[in-house]
Amino acid sequence: MSKSDLTRRGVLRAGAAGLATPTIFSGAVWAASHSGFTNAPEGGSVTLGFNVPQTGPYADEGADELRAYELAVEHLNGGGDGGMIPTFSSKTLDGTGILGKKVEYVTGDTQTKSDAARASAKSMIEKDGAIMITGGSSSGVAVAVQGLCQEAGVIFMAGLTHSNDTTGKDRKANGFRHFFNGYMSGAALAPVLANAYGTDRKAYHLTADYTWGWTQQESIQASTEALGWSTVQNVLTPLAATDFSSYIAPVLQTDADVLVLNHYGGNMVNSLTNAVQFGLKDKIVNGKQFEIVVPLYSRLMARGAGANVKGIFGSTNWHWSLPDEGSQAFTRSFGTKYGFPPSQAAHTCYTQTLLYADAVNRAGSFNPCAVAEALEGFEFDGLGNGPTLYRAEDHQCFKDVLVVKGKENPTSEFDLLEIVEITPVSQVTYPPDHPMFGGAEASLGSCNPGA
């Protein structure tokens, strides 16, 4: 018998042929199969766990993430046109899976709830023998699942999570984030806003009343104030709010001339729609045109707001219209398979899968600690965001940030945003012990291989 803190199986599935002779209580065999880390893959395949919201408000975003994962698995196993593999600066991926093992995957539903997400991730680790968990469409879930993976001893490659905390005060040695964060949004947006609207602006913030909202608001306030803006008021809105009229109306009574909506998803769609209803876009205050800003844009959600997004600034991790080779390859590959362009969530999830696979290949092992080491300080290019660094200190990717604007004349329902500026990585880089990221106290802890 073997004793472990988290077990694996999957082996049996993969190595089914080798089990022709029934072994009764063959604990010894088990122990031998352990290579000192959780769910060490055996046989000819390796299992990845794709944990995305399939029900609840972010279900469509989750579905897009899942499409990207399936595409990534196809490409890793040598199917399709290879997507971004040919453009990726690291050349270890050759279409033979990961370390020569065929990539298999299991899927689960996070329901955008920490509990459900952890339950789903645990079942992937305990039941399906997943060696890596990835996905998610909100920061609460990302932090919760990242914590779980740290304890269980598997790698977590975060999906869409934008809160500073994910690689800030809640950073973990086994967790990695490719997506950008609230600070970067603020740092990238502020100069563009100052350029477009002037440095003498008074901002009114509406902020979703939970951790992501707060870190986003804190970041954008700091960056805009550094350029001369003042902040009139910051109002916290309940997450469950669906009608924002009573939060928008007071804006009319102040001398604010910019409204910043620190909302995401359904909240963003509704607050933006309501703000436009109240005529804020046409208002003139202090002789200036009133403006609305949405710091974190998502194309999927922007669709829900319809024409209201026209002309409104925001930031995004990636957009399919980027002209670089990697982005084009990915868009072509995804678009050909599914008939529409990928979202930023799809892009980050696809990229994370490739990055993981490559790290394993470079490390020559699935051991989470070896993989983490391979990812730490890794510099790469060709995955759609230009030269990128996976910083060792906090496991955050540093890359250029896109500032976008709602398009005035969209040609299709996917063509809603236009890129205004690509903010260079140097402008959005911060020290790992930045106070918004847990300060000096924040620590990754040490890598946990489980078992």
Binding site: D60, D209, S245, V269, Q277, M301, R303, A307
Partner: protein, 341 residues
């Protein structure tokens, strides 16, 4: 002062939605005695009637435009609505923009049909069952309806704008000599519409024989049954009316906030609170509670209030519900003995 006037307007507007949903719910819940967890789903279906009509009006065929390229670099396929072929591009554009008001007409027969089939097919068999069973079956139904809508329309919100004539906002301030009191046209339309529907339902119950019988049935079902009046059929009609009211509330709500498949669940809990705060079995109570809670919610979200009591905007509805129920045992206008056991 301006701020207060604006919040009263907001409160009336929120209250309109609450009152409309609660009105239908209280017809089913307070009158027929069925704990209908699928009522939110009826509201949602109403909203998706508007979406469906918008889609129907937008039914298109593809025309290839060689001058433009799509995201893969192929020639752009442009969707041209059939309406444009029939009536010309401008007329078609206008019709599509007016899809939400048109959806009122479209939704009434659909909601009546939905209401009747729900009552005849399912709810009818649960009048005499325990409330617990009613909760389970209607909750199950709500999930199923929601998932069906999700399967067709996805999980994301779908924009359904108001007609151009009603976008933008109205400057009240200019009218009464104050600054900065502007209010969106469509929200005023919503309030007016709610008033008309509420008045219609009340008039119907007050001035028709049908209404009299139903009101008598609400007060004492057994006696009415004994009089040989076919109360069953009237209850079916009642259910259809309730479904209709919820559906219309949903149709008209779409331009205020883009509809999504779980909007019914978002309103479900609130609407139960509204009905109970209003008092079981009381239609005026439900309407009153809807507006009271709407206005209080609007006021609680003012900065001045939040500064004094942080977090009050998160809990105001529940706090008010607790206070009302503790000081007035049967809510604002409830009747004795309804759903108290």
């Amino acid at each position: 002062m301006e701020a207060i006037i604006l919040q009263i307007l907001n409160g009336l507007d929120k209250g309109s939605a609450y009152a409309l949903i609660a009105l239908g719910l209280t017809l089913i819940f307070g009158t027929l005695g069925v704990v209908n967890f699928a009522h939110g789903a009826l509201f949602m279906i109403g909203a998706f009637c508007a979406v469906t009509l918008q889609r129907l009006l937008n039914l298109s065929h593809e025309v290839i435009d060689d001058t433009k390229k799509d995201f893969l670099g192929n020639p752009l396929k442009v969707d041209v609505p059939y309406l444009a072929d029939w009536f010309g591009a401008d007329a078609a554009q206008t019709i599509i923009q007016w899809s939400v008001p048109l959806a009122i007409l479209f939704s009434i027969p659909i909601m009546i049909l939905v209401g009747i089939s729900m009552e005849r097919g399912l709810i009818k068999h649960f009048y005499k069952r325990p409330h617990a069973d009613q909760i389970l079956v209607t909750f199950g139904l709500a999930i199923v309806l929601q998932e069906i809508i999700k399967a067709f329309f996805g999980a994301n919100p779908i924009p359904t704008p108001a007609p151009p004539a009603f976008t933008g906002s109205f400057d009240f301030g200019a009218l009464i000599g104050m600054e900065n009191i502007i209010y969106p046209y469509w929200r005023m339309v919503y309030f007016a519409f709610a008033m008309v529907v509420i008045a219609g339902v009340f008039a119907f119950l007050q001035f028709t024989t049908f209404g009299m019988v139903v009101r008598a049935g609400m007060a004492d079902r057994e006696t009415v049954g004994m009089l040989g009046i076919n109360i069953d059929r009237r209850f079916t009609i009642m259910f259809a009316i309730a479904a209709c009211v919820a559906g219309l509330a949903g149709v008209m709500y779409t331009p205020i906030n883009s509809p999504n498949y779980h909007m019914g669940m978002d309103f479900l809990v609130i609407s139960f609170v509204v009905v109970v705060v209003g008092g079981m079995g009381s239609l005026p109570g439900a309407v009153l509670a809807g507006f009271v809670l709407g206005i209080l919610e609007a006021f609680a979200s003012m900065n001045e209030v939040i500064d004094i009591v942080p977090g009050i905007n998160q809990i105001i509805i529940y706090l008010v519900a607790i206070i009302v129920l503790l000081t007035r045992p049967r809510g604002l206008m409830g009747r004795k003995g309804v759903m108290e056991e």
